[in-house]
């Protein structure tokens, strides 16, 4: 099915199942520990051995020799894999660095060996006996000192590194009110709770990997490419994924090494990345240095917006696209953006939840707050005044829906914004300085091709199969809701099977495209199935009604089970897209409001209240969608207040590479959170009329927190995270 004209009325609009805050259908499995994650598949193949990964102890250089004698002689050891023993390995299209290093080393903790043994304890002990001699090469690890050498990168997914509109330089030079400020965001780690893990099993030349991966089809292709085998010889199975946030978009070393280890040992091998290896072995969100220039008239109209961003990555990598949202978020007749990329020899930078927008808005939405203050304007009113309903760089191109101003005004109302004293540092609650902050949230909507197969079995059960993944997003549930709505059956009569490369190729989970795209694919397959059912009954599909487990046509009504009585009816289809996303700018919007308290003596920062108002098209399941938003708000609170990978600039690695050193929010950091979804449908996105929310929720949160801390203390911190050491010497005297 091709979606090339805006959706009109369709069966989804009945909203008997879709749009309801249904409990997740996988809830009983997840809450009882019976949902099987990758490393736990004792059921799939017998005789599994254990692999333990050895990571490089240098960031850059080469391995001179590896002495495996002791490791091989250790109790229980079955095989040791190194790049020297593995046949020539390729590199996947989605990887920048090789997943098995040697002799050349590209980053610290790059995998260099796998030790396979009968037990986990034996593999771990033997891995510590691998003796490696390295020659260390000089590396470049410091973004701040690399700016001069940074270059203009090639376009990323069609996004040019630079943009210009109007005459930014002249407009900025002549603006009566100006801001020119520099902001920094540090490297971040996904730190998902389930470590990357895989079980590999060979059957002749066929490989099956039970793994933890967001993008089944991409990754099946990259496994094949890396191992130099045909894609149809690789099967990936990933029904449950313990968090990804972009860190499991790609094949990682656990999968490749499990495959190599299984081949070497001649039996199935399971590998999980040890937690202290994960942060340097896998990918991270790259740090940025950003410069923002804003010019405005004295009555608060922006006349010039300039946003530049520098980031680093390994050779062949890409930039953190932190200026993207600035091209679309606010009106101004004169604009410029630019991204520059430095080569750094740190671990591979790549996508993490809302890549680009998350760090971009961390900077931009502080800048907007600063500008509002310079203008003597309320920060909500300043944003509302500079709204645009068209793409500011292509004014002939409207937004499909844009209700940012409503998000801001409804949020302000709900949060009690009008009681706020605009002057910072004045509100006290005992020893606490109290402040409130606001920021806009913005993230583009993306539609991806997505296919599904739907079966109606003899019992009237509807079975959906697609290689879509559920990384905690609620895919199982919204796909079941979609199929139930389309075929007029209760949710309990739908079974959803996900995450297997034997199933039709879906959009996968990334870029907040999963919900709308994958359900649109299921919609297409269900539409085919409806036709097939009606044709089987010898009727005209045009006005068939599917409800209450029956298909009704004119005076005739047949139970679905009966329709499939002669044998299962199967349909498969793919949803693909025309040019609506080019004709309309499809984006999602929100507003974050935060109240923070800062201890006047110690500088300790506590978040007291958080509210998000989101406009993101039809919300397919408000309960699961709300969870996506509160989870993203929590990750945004982490970015605001604590998350920072500390770079050892001499030896080139992230020092705090475990969950004790890399701090993420815990229960005590997060108050009760509130989320409001505007009632909205966007007929330009798909027949589902939905968009994504999983990344929108993190966009702008950190700036709202930083703005609240400023409002509480009068101290402006432009270098994230906002930690108490950056406040201490500027706090007011404690009486």
């Amino acid at each position: 099915m091709k979606f090339d004209t805006p959706a009109t009325n369709n069966p989804i609009d009945q909203l008997k199942v879709v749009g309801k805050p249904t409990n997740r259908i996988d809830g009983p499995l997840k809450t009882t520990g019976t949902a099987p994650y990758a490393y736990e598949r004792h059921d799939v193949v017998p005789n599994q051995a254990y692999g333990y990964v050895v990571g490089s102890a240098i960031a850059k250089g080469k391995i001179d020799s590896i002495d495996l004698k002791e490791a091989k002689a250790a109790p229980g050891v079955l095989a040791v894999v190194t790049a020297a023993s593995a046949e020539m390995l390729g590199k996947g299209d989605f990887n920048t660095a090789k997943l098995l290093g040697g002799p050349e080393i590209q980053h610290y903790h790059q995998a260099i060996a796998l030790v396979v043994a009968e037990s986990f304890e034996q593999a771990r002990a033997a891995a510590a006996l691998v003796r490696v001699q390295y020659t260390r090469a000089k590396g470049n690890f410091d973004l701040a000192t690399s700016l001069d050498g940074a270059v203009k990168p090639p376009a990323v997914f069609g996004t040019e590194p630079d943009s210009r509109f109007g005459d930014f330089d002249a407009a900025f030079a002549s603006a009566p009110v100006k801001l020119d400020a520099r902001y920094t965001t540090p490297d971040h780690s996904h730190a998902m709770m389930e470590p990357h893990a895989s079980i590999a099993s060979w059957d002749g030349d066929r490989l099956t990997l039970w793994t933890s991966n967001q993008m089944i089809a991409w990754s099946a292709g990259d496994v094949a490419k890396t191992l130099g085998i045909a894609k149809d010889k690789v099967r990936l199975v990933s029904p449950y994924i313990g968090g990804g946030f972009g860190g499991k978009l790609f094949v990682r070393s656990d999968a490749i090494l499990a495959a190599l280890g299984a081949k070497a040992a001649g039996r199935p091998v399971k590998v999980a990345l040890p937690r202290p290896l994960m942060i340097n072995n896998t990918t991270h969100r790259p740090a940025t240095i950003q410069r923002i220039r804003l010019g405005a008239t004295t009555d608060g109209k922006l006349t010039a917006i300039g946003h530049e961003s520098w980031s680093g990555d390994l050779k062949g990598g890409g930039p953190e696209t932190a200026v993207g949202q600035t091209r679309l978020l606010y009106a101004a007749p004169n604009r410029m953006t630019a991204m520059r990329l430095a080569v750094l020899d740190l671990p591979e930078g790549n996508a993490m939840r809302a890549p680009g927008e998350a760090p971009g808005l961390m900077a931009l939405e502080i800048a907007i707050d600063e500008m509002a203050e310079k203008l003597g304007m309320d920060p909500v009113a300043f944003r509302v005044l500079n709204d645009t309903q068209v793409d500011p760089e292509k004014p002939e191109r409207p937004f499909s829906q844009r209700r940012l101003n409503e998000c801001l005004s409804i949020g302000a109302e709900k949060f009690g914004w009008k009681d706020r004293n605009p002057k910072p540092g004045l509100a006290r609650d005992g020893r606490w300085l109290v402040g409130t902050g606001v920021a806009a949230a913005f993230r583009n909507n993306i539609n991806e091709k997505s296919a599904a197969r739907v079966r109606l079995d003899r019992n009237g059960l509807v079975i959906v199969e697609t290689d879509m993944t559920d990384i905690g997003t609620g895919s199982y549930t919204i796909i079941a809701q979609t199929a139930a709505e389309m075929l007029g059956v209760p949710l309990t009569q739908v079974e959803v099977r996900l995450g297997d490369s034997l199933f039709p190729v879906s959009a996968g989970s990334g870029g907040q495209w999963g919900a709308n795209s994958s359900t649109a694919g299921v919609y297409a397959a269900c539409a085919q199935l409806r036709t097939a059912i009606v044709e089987k009954l010898g009727l005209d599909p045009a006005d068939a009604v599917f409800e209450k487990g029956r298909v009704r046509l004119g005076g005739k009504s047949v139970a679905l089970a009966k329709a499939a009585g002669g044998g299962e009816i199967v349909a498969e289809d793919l949803m693909e897209y025309g040019d609506l996303a080019q004709r309309f700018q499809q984006s999602t919007f929100g507003a974050h409001f935060v109240e923070a308290a800062v201890d006047a003596a110690t500088g300790e920062i506590r978040i007291r209240r958080m509210l998000a108002v989101c406009a993101a098209g039809r919300i397919l399941n408000p309960k699961a969608a709300r969870s996506q938003v509160i989870g993203a708000m929590t990750m945004g609170a982490g970015a605001a207040l604590m998350e920072e990978l500390a770079v050892d600039k001499r030896f080139g690695f992230f020092v705090n590479h475990d969950l004790a050193g890399y701090e993420v929010p815990v229960h005590a950091d997060i108050p009760s959170q509130e989320v409001i979804f505007l009632d909205e449908v966007d007929p330009t996105t798909s027949p589902m009329k939905a968009k994504g929310v999983g990344e929108l929720g993190i966009c702008g949160v950190a700036a709202a927190v930083a703005n609240a801390v400023y409002h509480a203390t009068g101290i402006r911190v432009r270098n994230y995270p906002v930690t108490l050491d950056k406040l201490l010497d500027k706090l007011p005297d404690v009486a």
Binding site: N23, T31, T34, P75, L129, G472, S627, K649, S672
Partner: protein
């Protein structure tokens, strides 16, 4: 920045020898040490341990390095208890031992001879959920589900701790018995990380089970 002259590369016993090159010294470098290693026994030292898991008696012969977590996951194949870090940093491996919650990754299995262990599977299974499991479903107190068994085991034990009058860091007055308040729950649950960020819903679920207005 210049690389210091002397810097140990790693736990694998290597020393940095200059600005751009590294000379290696094996930790077990002497021929005698190597010979000793080559004669290492092919079976690791094991010990027998007997405990009850979810009211079922088990007797296991285990490599003494096996954690309680791996005994459950790899030997008894009770994979509901999760490994998030293996270092006591995340709480995913929380189980209840003789009524108290512990991080099972930080405890060797052989230390639990005679103990009564309750895992997530022992609290309830699909079709017969424990009230805390049901509350997590109702309040959507999870997303990816990986931290969830640990959160639920912790939550069940936390309510018992409060009932038993055990104070926490945020208990204002140590002479009063602690009560179920949101700050108490947040403090006590802070050893269980949820990167999906379901905290606000998790606390709602616990408050619901506790049957209090908090």
């Amino acid at each position: 920045m210049a690389i210091p002259e002397e810097f140990p590369i790693s736990r694998r016993g290597l020393l940095a020898g200059g600005a751009v090159s590294v000379a290696a010294v094996s930790a077990a470098g002497s021929p005698d040490a190597r010979a000793a290693v080559e004669k290492a026994p092919s079976r690791p030292p094991t010990a027998r341990v007997a405990f009850h898991v979810n009211n079922t008696a088990h007797e296991l012969e285990l490599d003494t390095r096996t954690t309680l977590l791996d005994a459950l996951r790899e030997h008894l194949r009770l994979t509901g208890t999760k490994k998030g870090c293996d270092h006591g940093q995340c709480g995913a491996c929380t189980v209840i031992v003789d009524g108290r919650r512990i991080n099972s990754c930080l405890s060797l299995a052989v230390m639990h001879d005679g103990d009564k262990i309750t895992t997530i599977e022992g609290l309830g299974l699909p079709g017969n959920l424990h009230p805390m499991q049901q509350a997590f479903v109702e309040h959507d107190g999870y997303q990816c589900g990986y931290c969830t068994p640990g959160q639920i085991c912790s939550a069940v034990a936390v309510l018992e701790e409060i009932k038993a009058g055990i104070p926490s860091h945020v208990t204002a007055d140590l002479s009063d018995p602690p009560s179920v308040t949101r700050p108490e729950l947040r403090e006590r649950m802070s050893g269980n990380i949820c990167r999906c960020g379901a905290y606000s819903n998790i606390v709602d679920a616990i408050v619901d089970v506790a049957g209090v207005k908090a």
